[in-house]
């Protein structure tokens, strides 16, 4: 019973959101606001049970009066409470302390994270054999040359300390071509990802075709009626003059 009801609700909300493809309408707005509310409520509960309860409340209960443990438990609570200072104008600046804490932590972590994972790993991975020998075939070697040349040209495209003229201009132009292929491929993958999500929704609409039919009729009738009932735009002063 609950499953069937859930399927009908899911199908109804799907049809409501898809109705936006025609135009903005009350059904879409309803589904949109339900989505916002449910998401906010869901994340609140998830955050409470995964972080606030085990990391803030439990350590305080388990400190057992030990001053060291108590200090370690109270510091994050104090930092978290300072965030709420933003609600009061006079002490709103206090909220910058926990923000500064998070920003500083992330800035430090990202220096190491980006340097070790993105910068060094990417440079390391791009160092491939450029000559066919041993386990590297000619085909792989040619591809490695193209990849290497493309990477150098793309990096030169991002080099803005000199005007892009002459050899630098030619190389940066080739780099731009590589970037365009990359953007095109990324676009293609994004579209295909979204399309597969749309197929998933269409599959559910097909599986519960009675619900789909009912909600589609409801939305079409509703959009039509709200369009008819909407007040016509007020006549301008010039129009009213005889």
């Amino acid at each position: 019973m609950m499953e069937t009801m859930g399927a009908w609700v899911g199908v109804g909300l799907t049809v409501f959101i898809l109705s936006f493809l025609y135009k903005d309408n009350p059904f879409y707005k309803l589904a949109e606001h339900i989505y916002l509310g449910v998401s906010a409520g869901y994340w609140l509960v998830v955050v409470f049970h995964t972080n606030i309860l085990p990391e803030l409340i439990m350590p305080l209960r388990e400190s057992g009066g030990d001053p060291g443990k108590l200090a370690m438990a109270l510091t994050p609570i104090a930092l978290s409470l300072l965030m709420f200072a933003t609600l009061f104008k006079k002490i709103a600046w206090l909220a910058t302390i926990p923000i500064a804490f998070v920003i500083g932590a992330f800035a430090g972590a990202q220096i190491i994270g980006f340097a070790s994972s993105d910068l060094i790993i990417q440079i390391q991975s791009s160092m491939q054999p450029l000559w066919a020998s041993g386990q590297t075939t000619w085909r792989e070697a040619i591809n490695n040359w193209i990849g290497f040349a493309g990477l150098i040209c793309c990096l030169l495209f991002f080099f803005f300390s000199r005007e892009h003229k002459g050899a630098l201009g030619a190389a940066s132009r080739v780099g731009m071509y590589f970037l365009m292929i990359s953007f095109g491929a990324s676009f293609g993958y994004t579209v295909m990802g979204r399309i597969s999500l749309a197929i998933g929704r269409a599959q559910e609409l097909y599986d519960y075709h009675y619900a789909t039919l009912v909600f589609t009729v409801l939305v079409v009738a509703g959009v039509f009626l709200t369009g008819r009932l909407r007040k016509p735009p007020a006549e301008s002063a010039e129009m009213k003059q005889p």
Partner: protein, 215 residues
């Protein structure tokens, strides 16, 4: 004081998080572990604050019956119902048979995936209007996108086999685009972004970048 204290906090946390990579000493590792935990706690508080802010912003508008107040009331009701059920069932969104799981499966999942699926139509329509092979760059972008999209569906493979007599296999071409030119472009972007992130991180720790203190 309003600027100095946050700048000192940023400097200390930033330096500890950077130095920990180079030193396994407990004097550095313990504070680093604490900062990580506390940082996550502060971010959790930010989410609670955000939720509270939804109520603070919307409740007066609902009471005053401002424009679209009914939708706002529905949003607040949905939020309270989800959070209420979630807290009552102790956040067991994974437990089949619970109301929380029902709301997650039949409300959140369809809504989220349909919202993202909706973007497919808009991306496609925007691409149809914007993609014009006016220059070499635009042609490359267009060609790469079409090849990737066609190569990922069975009809692309069938078409390429029929039209070229088996000489060209579109999925293979997609793999090559992904492994060679796309990878080169992506690597360059990642290297550039990493250099940018590192320099921004250093600027933030040293207090040269203070935009987060404004407002």
């Amino acid at each position: 004081m309003k600027k100095t204290i946050p700048l000192i906090v940023t400097f200390i946390t930033g330096v500890i998080m950077t130095v920990e990579y180079f030193s396994p000493h407990p004097l550095v590792q313990h504070p680093k572990a604490a900062i990580e935990k506390w940082g996550i706690s502060v971010m959790s508080a930010m989410i609670v604050l955000g939720t509270l802010n939804i109520l603070i912003v919307n409740l007066p508008r609902i009471v005053r019956k401002e424009r679209d107040w009914m939708y706002k009331a529905i949003m607040v009701a949905a939020m309270i119902a989800t959070a209420g059920l979630g807290f009552y069932e102790q956040g067991k969104f994974d437990d089949k048979g619970s109301f929380s799981n029902w709301m997650f499966t039949h409300l959140l999942v369809p809504l989220q995936s349909t919202m993202f699926a909706l973007l497919a139509f808009y991306i496609t329509s925007a691409a149809f209007r914007a993609f014009r092979a006016r220059s070499v760059e635009a042609t490359l972008l267009l060609a790469a996108a079409i090849i990737v999209m066609l190569g990922r569906v069975p009809i692309g493979e069938l078409l390429s086999a029929k039209l070229t007599g088996g000489a060209l296999n579109l999925p293979d071409l997609v793999s090559w685009i992904n492994d060679v030119p796309n990878l080169a472009g992506k690597r360059a972007i990642m290297v550039g972004a990493a250099l940018g992130a590192i320099s921004t991180g250093i600027r933030v720790i040293l207090g040269m970048e203070r935009s987060y203190l404004a407002g």
